[in-house]
Assembly symmetry: C2
Homo-oligomer: 355 residues x 2
């Protein structure tokens, strides 16, 4: 049986930063939390949804709020939201399910599974991180995010049953703001069968494998960059130095813009727009890569993947583009989480074919 | 047995505007709704909490949002929030309870009682209207507003269990804003015993009696003004003409200021500050009356009580001050709903003794 152990922690966190595409926060706190949970409760079994009772209820869990906020769940929130969900549905869950893979929300569900003594499903609803609750492949499959349970560290608890997943996002965001921008949520309660049919299977394994390949880069192994890029079907879109950086937290979002000057051709400048995650890269006003595809910065010397908060003037970075899951690249997927869904007046073009 | 009948409608609505102190919206829509409910289901029994099973659950209900919004519940919301409350608590309610007496929230619970085939309790939690959920005599008695259930006309539903009643207000307000500023809420689920001990009994009767006396003014009966003022221990604080009027809806509140020039002494100007309700009256910068006491405008010719929305330049009005329930006039009551609770840097002074 596969399991997440203390030995996986570093790779999981590295992969989480890559798939977090700048968002999801610094996984340092989540690493500490997961390390403590694994030390206390032992390894967390990693299971495939296909091997579970098809009608068994999965318990999805995630942190919501602005990733720049430094508060961290005290441990009681997850068991409360999941216990409340079980009580509301009148049934017990059989495994914990990550909602997104990226940033803290990769490691957090594993820690929750350790504490609840449940396995963690090797799956998620995005195979990346996205800043809004409705932006999942489950929404594309017509699955409701409701009922949603939400609670904060002070013990405030809210249950939502909204008519659509966009309204879920609006109501949860409004309450999370009142809660001080950090809360724990359960959303999209689905069965193992729905997970197999409509979520992404193998996400944690994918994240771990990316982390291993990033570590190989950091260890200076020959061909490590190529091995990483090849595994993700990724491409280095631009290599440059940070020459401009504008970050601000507004209305619950970490927004910003970062501009890089090309290392070899200083006249070339790449501008990346950020809303929690890296959303779109423009050169000469032309979109070179956009959501739903993934955009991640890696330090060209150390291979360290950068969160938005980690960006600094003068850093020399690769901008890496990775294809989103194939269901994101459909017309419906692009409508839900493409550039126009974030307010950019550009069409989505797969980065491999962008001019 | 007492009952609310179609014949009570006009008086109930008139009293509701007086006790609404400018807020709570135009009761015209609520009158139409209640008339339809009474025609369809017959009179609504009006019961004293003291005559009910002391451990019986009461079902409090109110509309929340900005009273200037014109949407009205379609009827399904109240049964949904109350049904959800009953399911959450695992018990059935025995009667509907108004949360506030004033504006639409006086008539609305009676219509809900008619539709559910339940009696309505002759009580409320304020004996007036207040704009924030925590501003009740139940809060003063240490009773939690949670669990709260909330739903809108589209079918979006939220349940709140917050650690204090101020947080209840913040979370409900945030969700109501996302719902388009009109929603139906159940809060403060209490037993008949708690109602007797900590709410205000006789509120609907009080409201009806005020309405009857206002109607007597409108009918031009001799001594009618004195009979109304005497019944409420009220006083005409100022009689003047509207010379300035500023109203705006911001952040979910109907805010405003209205200034009156004295009819006999034009140098005297009274300024009334509004936040949904009339909150404080100032002359020469001196507070003459403030919350928690009640401030209501009556047309000096017709006796018509004015909502904030009904105010207009040139109207000739009496500004009437009425004492709040005695528990509001305690130190704790003033701390919860006195002028400083609304951001005015003045002490509360009972209007009878204000200079």
């Amino acid at each position: 049986m596969r399991a997440i152990t203390l030995g996986d922690l570093e790779d999981l966190a590295l992969g989480a930063v890559v798939l977090g595409t700048g968002g999801g926060g610094d996984p340092y706190l989540a690493k500490v939390m997961l390390a403590q949970a694994l030390e206390r409760h032992g390894p967390v079994p990693l299971v495939d949804a296909a091997d579970l009772d098809p009608e068994g209820l999965l318990l999805p869990v995630a942190m919501v709020g602005a990733p720049t906020v430094e508060k961290f769940p005290n441990g009681g929130e997850a068991s409360r939201v999941l216990g409340a969900l079980e009580a509301h549905l009148g049934r017990r869950g059989i495994a914990v399910l990550p909602i997104e893979i990226g940033g803290m929300n990769t490691l957090f569900p594993v820690a929750v599974a350790a504490e609840l003594g449940l396995p963690c499903v090797d799956a998620d609803a995005m195979r990346r991180a996205f800043p809004q609750i409705e932006m999942t492949l489950l929404t594309l499959a017509g699955i409701s995010a409701s009922p949603i349970t939400l609670c904060d560290a002070k013990g405030n608890y809210v249950l939502f049953d909204a008519v659509d997943n966009v309204m879920c996002e609006r109501l949860v965001r409004a309450c999370t703001t009142e809660m001080g921008m950090t809360a724990v949520m359960s959303a999209y309660p689905i069965t193992a069968r729905q997970c197999v049919e409509s979520a992404v299977t193998g996400s944690l394994t994918y994240c771990l494998e990316i982390g291993r390949r990033i570590r190989a880069i950091q260890e200076g192994r020959a061909g490590a960059y190529e091995a990483f890029l090849s595994y993700c079907d990724a491409r280095i879109l631009f290599t440059g130095k940070v020459v401009d950086l504008d970050r601000r937290t507004t209305a619950g979002w970490a927004r910003g813009t970062v501009s890089l000057e090309h290392l070899d051709e200083p006249a070339r400048v790449m501008r990346v727009e950020i809303q929690n995650e890296n959303l779109a890269a423009f050169e000469d006003g032309e979109a070179k890569a956009t959501v739903p595809d993934l955009l991640t910065f890696l330090d060209i010397e150390t291979g360290v993947p950068m969160t938005t908060e980690g960006l600094a003037y003068g850093q020399r970075l690769h901008l890496v583009a990775m294809p989103a899951h194939e269901r994101w690249r459909t017309e419906e997927g692009v409508a839900l989480a493409g550039p126009r869904a974030f307010g950019y007046d550009v069409d989505y073009v797969p980065f491999e074919v962008a001019r």
